[in-house]
């Protein structure tokens, strides 16, 4: 009988819990912060004043809130509201406009930039924003022996955008002219200087906060301390991050009181949370949910202007791919229009160049490859493959990172088509898109085996070492809206006009000296019109050479409750939240 009683009690208990859960919804209240006393005493919840809270649902948590040491979009989503750079991107565009600097002016040679800083701005910890703060941040990022450039931290973007650390840095000095003026000296003219300055990772943090918290700066217990329109409030890992409006913000107090970014990893569950009214907005919805959102009278969709390109790359260690006729045959075999229609819907654009249309240097005059399988067959026949292409030849030995030969010169291998193992914003359904492309190729006599190389780190690692031996899918999302960030990263990288462009494994061993020199010239040329012409020329050369096959640009959709207005999705940099309003 004792057991029966136990079970009855448990069952009743479970049912009671269920009943409690079904009680009418209580208004959320804010309890007082944890008291210092140890003994648990009842804490009566107190009614907080009506807080206008914007809740954004996202798929993953931030990694860290020290913008200088992270590379993931989910971290910048938050730091972009809390920290500000000297320049920022104009709302809805990629044009750099002043933020914490009132203006930055170059000298004639464009090797020195003098920046006038905004006066009267304070960090969230009450300290002043001034020239010293700017210098502290830049020196911390640059010098590996700086006391706050901790060995455990990697200032990845500083190295990537400014050429390196210490003496390798393109910024050779940041000097204080007066309390509100700093002068940047560069090793060479750098056309994208302002575009670089505006990047989220070069936002200015409070030196006092960094000195106070050391390595803990940016971690959940500290968060970020900047000058932005919102101040960090709390971070419950894996659950949510909250920031509150900065009443003293130099650009005017935001219209909402709080932003909460909630982590809901599953795409469908996140969309249902939006429908249920638990969140106000979300990104990365499934195709089905997007269709449902379009039909829902309580929701609306905004698109993020495309600053990305999905592409299909050749591995140039394959002898057959060294023949431009074969590459052209591949280009004409893929029905990109159908791919975009079927997999991107109205949010996709067929890509005819690497640069998306909104980036300076976009070459609209280029005659895109038409979809023509017959022409593909003809080109293959001209190249010596009248029966199509199913097997390819390794042109020269290909070693792995450890120097062991993985592919031997002269070996024959089946033609492989590597599809991406994960969805990225530029490839919404990579496996299905890969299958469609392989089917298109087969129609033109190019029979490629679909290949799953492993999970995402494995895929990237193989690509990095030039070991995706065949055709492979990948894409790129711009970091600063400048064409240099697209083209020079992949096809350039020279440090002088005379340098020889070496083929790199991570680029499928492609090298084009003429393109690389053009890109170097564009990098150091401060004249926008001349730069634009150089990039257009480079794009034409890449097109003529069929260096890669550009597939699509994706304008990622964001779904909002109709209660929300004023949200500005950015093609580059963090979205603007400070004009967001929520109707009751």
């Amino acid at each position: 009988m004792k057991l029966l009683r136990v079970f009855t009690a448990l069952t009743v208990g479970a049912l009671l819990l269920g009943l409690i859960a079904c009680r009418p919804t209580a208004t959320p209240t804010t309890a007082p912060p944890p008291a210092a006393t140890a003994a648990p005493t009842p804490v009566p919840p107190t009614k907080a004043p009506e807080v206008v809270r914007f809740i954004f649902g996202r798929g993953g948590d931030s990694v860290q809130l020290d913008a200088a040491i992270v590379t993931d979009g989910e971290s910048f989503r938050v730091t972009g509201q809390c920290l500000e750079p000297l320049y920022q991107y104009e709302p809805g565009s990629t044009k750099p406009v002043p933020a914490l600097a009132e203006e930055c002016v170059p000298n004639e040679a464009a090797t020195e930039w003098t920046c006038k800083l905004r006066k009267g701005v304070k960090f969230h910890d009450g300290t002043d924003f001034n020239a010293d703060a700017v210098i502290f941040n830049f020196e911390r990022w640059r010098f590996t022996n700086h006391p706050y450039h901790f060995p455990s931290q990697v200032f990845e973007y500083y190295e990537y955008m400014w050429g390196g650390f210490d003496d390798a840095s393109l910024i050779t000095a940041v000097e204080k002219v007066d309390d509100y003026t700093v002068k940047f000296t560069l090793a060479q003219p750098l056309a994208p200087f302002l575009a670089n300055l505006a990047m989220d990772m070069f936002a200015i943090s409070s030196p006092t906060a960094i000195q106070k918290y050391g390595e803990k700066y940016g971690m959940p217990e500290v968060g970020c301390v900047g000058t932005g329109p919102f101040k960090f409030k709390e971070w419950v890992e894996g659950d949510h991050i909250t920031v509150v409006a900065n009443d003293e913000y130099w650009g005017g107090r935001p219209k909402i009181d709080e932003i909460v970014w909630r982590v809901i990893p599953d795409d469908s569950a996140r969309f249902l949370a939006l429908k249920a009214g638990d969140i106000h907005a979300t990104e990365q919805a499934t195709v089905e949910d997007l269709a449902a959102a379009e039909a829902d009278p309580n929701l609306y969709i905004l698109t993020r202007p495309a600053l990305n390109t999905a592409y299909l790359a050749f591995n140039y260690k394959i002898k057959e791919f060294q023949d431009v006729r074969v590459r052209r045959a591949v280009a004409h075999a893929i029905n990109r229009q159908a791919l975009v229609q079927n997999f991107y819907g109205k949010y996709g654009l067929v890509a005819k160049t690497f640069l998306p249309p909104l980036v300076m240097g976009y070459n609209d005059a280029i005659q895109d490859w038409e979809y023509n399988p017959n022409l593909s067959r003809q080109l293959l026949a001209e190249a010596g493959f009248p029966d199509g292409l199913s097997e390819v030849t390794i042109a020269e030995d290909v070693p792995d990172a450890g120097g062991n030969i993985v592919y031997k010169a002269g070996d024959k291998i089946p033609l492989k088509f590597y599809y991406m193992p994960v969805t990225r914003f530029y490839y919404p359904s990579p496996k299905e898109i890969g299958e469609a492309m392989a089917a298109d190729l087969a129609k033109a006599g190019i029979n490629a085996q679909l290949e799953l190389a492993g999970d995402w780190p494995t895929y990237l690692s193989l690509r990095r070492n030039g070991l995706l031996m065949g055709l492979y899918m990948l894409g790129w999302g711009g970091d600063n809206g400048d064409p240099d960030n697209f083209l020079n990263y992949f096809f350039g990288g020279l440090s002088s006009e005379d340098e020889v462009k070496e083929p790199a494994g991570r680029e499928g061993w492609y090298a084009n000296q003429e393109v690389a020199v053009l890109l170097y010239k564009a990098l150091v040329n401060p004249n926008p019109a001349e730069r634009e012409a150089l990039y257009k020329q480079a794009e034409q050369l890449l097109h003529d050479d069929v260096a890669r096959i550009w597939i699509a640009h994706n304008q990622t959709p964001l779904i909002f409750s109709k209660k929300v207005t004023g949200y500005v999705p950015q093609p580059v940099g963090a979205d603007y939240y400070r004009w967001v309003e929520i109707q009751p």
């Binding site: 009988m1 057991l3 448990l10 069952t11 479970a14 819990l17 859960a21 079904c22 009680r23 919804t25 959320p28 209240t29 804010t30 309890a31 912060p33 944890p34 648990p40 005493t41 009842p42 804490v43 919840p45 807080v51 809740i55 993953g60 860290q64 590379t71 455990s152 931290q153 990697v154 990845e156 973007y157 190295e159 990537y160 971690m219 419950v236 890992e237 894996g238 659950d239 949510h240 909250t242 909460v260 982590v263 809901i264 990893p265 599953d266 569950a269 249902l272 429908k275 249920a276 638990d278 492993g454 999970d455 995402w456 780190p457 494995t458 990237l460 690692s461 193989l462 990095r464 990263y489």
Partner: protein, 350 residues
């Protein structure tokens, strides 16, 4: 009993060491470099190398035979695994490669969330599963039995992913009873004592937060409890049916004892032994396998955290997480064994 316990606790050490060796080996067998995963696309080779050295990834996995050949004993032992063990002995699980946050800090935050979810699911599964099993056995071959067992079959075969989304659709979107995701409304704060929100809200008297925590727990518990509930119900029924065939049950009935007394006092206690084993195993599974539930319901536990760490090649997180899960598994099994003695007086541990 005490000696038995000590013996079992000591025998846990090689088991856990075995787990660390296997996890260490398997993690490093899968391709993909944590330094590259951490640094991302733009990483320079020098930086990748620097980080590899910093993380000790340039050291041999278990022992450095080259160093031994040169007579360098210290170098011989200076391997990734020995370094890990050395830190472990000092109670240091290391820090996440990606987030640089100590594993212990993250575990303190996330493990109670998983424990709360798993325990609540198990309480519901036991509280409903055993009575259903008993009733099915007692009313064998009636419509109640058929209904229960068909229900249990559906429960076992129900994909959690689908069930979770259906629950959200019904209880959150249509009925608006329960919130989607998280453990507590973000506008509420609960003073942390145990990390288990239901317990902490009761201890601090924050009743409104308690109700909110229960509402957040309801849907994930429903999803997570389905499979163990069905398994427990089926196992209880089968075990009860077997015991009800025993001679001593017939004797009890012949004595004229009431059916309820026969079922609960005589049959159930003996029938529970295999059920308890299943409960133990299922509790372990719930702790380790709550990843789908945690993903759908945005529950900030260790399942999703360890999964993300595997994808990101965050070795210390995977090592710390799996070690903890293994420890819990071993402890739960120990508890199951001890409970045998409580249920069956014939079992003695020496």
């Amino acid at each position: 009993m005490t000696r038995y316990l000590i013996r079992r606790l000591i025998s846990m050490i090689p088991t856990l060491l075995g787990v660390t060796v296997i996890v260490f080996l398997l993690l490093r067998l899968i391709p993909g470099d944590p330094a590259v995963a951490m640094l991302g696309e733009h990483a320079s080779q020098e930086n990748v190398q620097r980080i590899r050295e910093q993380l000790g990834l340039n050291r041999p996995l278990f022992l450095d035979r080259e160093a031994l050949k040169q007579g360098d004993l210290k170098g011989f032992l200076d391997s990734q695994y020995i370094r890990f063990l050395g830190r472990l002995v000092q109670g240091d699980l290391g820090a996440s490669i990606h987030r640089r946050i100590p594993i212990a800090t993250e575990l303190r935050q996330r493990f109670p969330a998983t424990v709360e979810l798993a325990l609540a699911a198990m309480v519901v599964a036991v509280a409903l599963g055993i009575p259903i099993g008993i009733i099915s056995a007692a009313r064998r071959n009636t419509w109640i039995d058929s209904l229960s067992m068909v229900g249990a079959l559906i429960g076992v075969s129900m994909p959690i992913f689908w069930l979770g989304l259906m629950e959200i659709m019904l209880f959150a979107v249509i009925l608006n009873w329960f919130p989607i995701g998280g453990r507590l409304d973000h506008a509420m704060e609960v003073r942390r004592i145990t990390g288990l929100l239901l317990v902490d809200t009761v201890l601090t008297g924050q009743w409104e937060a308690f109700v909110d925590a229960v509402k957040h727990l309801a849907m994930p518990v429903m999803a997570l409890a389905t499979i163990p509930l069905a398994i427990i119900a089926r196992m209880t029924r089968a075990s009860m049916l077997e015991v009800l065939q025993e001679d001593y049950i017939r004797t009890a009935r012949a004595k004229g004892l009431h059916q309820r007394l026969v079922l609960f006092r005589h049959a159930l206690k003996n029938a529970l032994l295999p059920v308890v084993t299943i409960i133990g195993l299922q509790t372990g599974n719930l702790l380790a396998g709550a990843i789908l539930t945690e993903t759908i319901f945005a529950w900030p536990g260790i399942g999703k955290w360890v999964y993300d760490a595997i994808i990101g090649r965050d070795y210390p997180v995977v090592q710390g997480g799996t070690l903890l899960i293994a420890l819990v598994f071993v402890l739960v099994n120990l508890l199951v064994d001890i409970s045998y003695a409580a249920l069956d007086p014939r079992i003695h541990y020496e």
